[in-house]
Symmetry: C2
């Protein structure tokens, strides 16, 4: 097994992946570490170091082969093993995420949405049906889903999470602006959009 | 001037802010570093150290005064100086962001949306009008806007950014899954939703 890759390296690898996708769209077949470095305004030795962590990175005499390097990043970061997920909360953000086809390219397979609003139940968004939240335990079991994208309002976040935990959900990608209380065996990933904005805002005003 | 606060500390402060908002909603008036630490599963000495960087942190005999600590974080992170911004791209994500009233609480004031689709122009979303993209230079100047939330499709991202740079936009919060080429004096903040997911995904499968 290869060494565990750091958060910062993962973040850079996902940006390299983005660039490689753009190159493929443009029909360009090879790329150098200097080209990647210039686009991201980082050092090219850093790019080479990151890529050296990958298997079959597509190194050639004229740089890297774009398609090989892209596949190598996907393999390392686990795109090859898609994870099934539900979106809980069929509000604006939930619907935007349901329509985001890019997820599947990255190994995230959203199967359905859930909401407690009877007016939303039965609607189909981008081939995904909205079910009443009460059906989640049954459907999670049937479809083998352990991951949820949580997009409910802040006021409903904790009670919804308690319900999800009881429904055997193990991984929560939390888009609601709320810090969730969960048992130790549940993994929560806080998207914290406002936190990201404040980072940006703080940087540009200092 | 106080010392510059690190990215990791800013991130924790925004999570503390989230918790404080929840406490205010629940009508709880004081909070301890241990309470905050337990919610975030971090060390309480870390919490105290972070809070010590703030002015007027609301320290009392029984912990911190929730409202004072919240205000202190807001002041330190610059919520008090709202930034005007446009959303460029009135697709699903753009509309979701336009409806996200939480932004204003955090000092981000979205004034209008822009799109190149004539069918979207003239529509009003959450009191914000959608204008044709060609009107952006004029309206940015008139409204004093230098910041944009970019939510256009990947394929349109670079050409849109070139146009924004020509329109004197200086700060770009990029939600499109694309690495943008910009001059050195333009600040780009890549939201990189998929990168965030891959972090999470990588962590839970290793």
């Amino acid at each position: 097994m290869k060494e565990k890759i750091s958060d910062k390296t993962i973040n850079r690898l996902t940006l390299y992946h983005c660039i490689l996708s753009d190159f493929i769209t443009s029909g360009i077949e090879t790329i150098t570490s200097v080209q990647i470095a210039n686009l991201l305004k980082i050092d090219d030795s850093q790019v080479r170091k990151d890529i050296s962590l990958l298997e079959n990175s597509g190194k050639s005499r004229v740089g890297y082969i774009v398609s090989d390097l892209k596949k190598s990043i996907e393999k390392t970061l686990g795109f090859a093993h898609p994870k099934n997920a539900f979106i809980v909360g069929a509000g604006n953000l939930g619907l935007a995420l349901a329509k985001y086809d890019n997820f599947l390219n990255y190994g995230l397979n959203v199967l359905a949405l859930f909401d407690n609003d009877p007016l939303k139940v039965g609607v189909t968004i981008n081939k995904k049906e909205v079910f009443h939240i009460s059906r989640l335990p049954e459907l999670a079991k049937k479809m083998g889903v352990q991951m949820v994208l949580l997009t409910v309002p802040r006021i409903a976040a904790q009670s919804t999470v308690d319900f999800l935990v009881d429904s055997n959900i193990k991984y929560i990608w939390n888009f609601s602006p709320s810090v969730l209380r969960v048992p130790d065996d549940i993994e929560v990933w806080n998207e914290n959009l406002m936190g990201n904005f404040l980072h940006f805002s703080y940087k540009i005003s200092n």
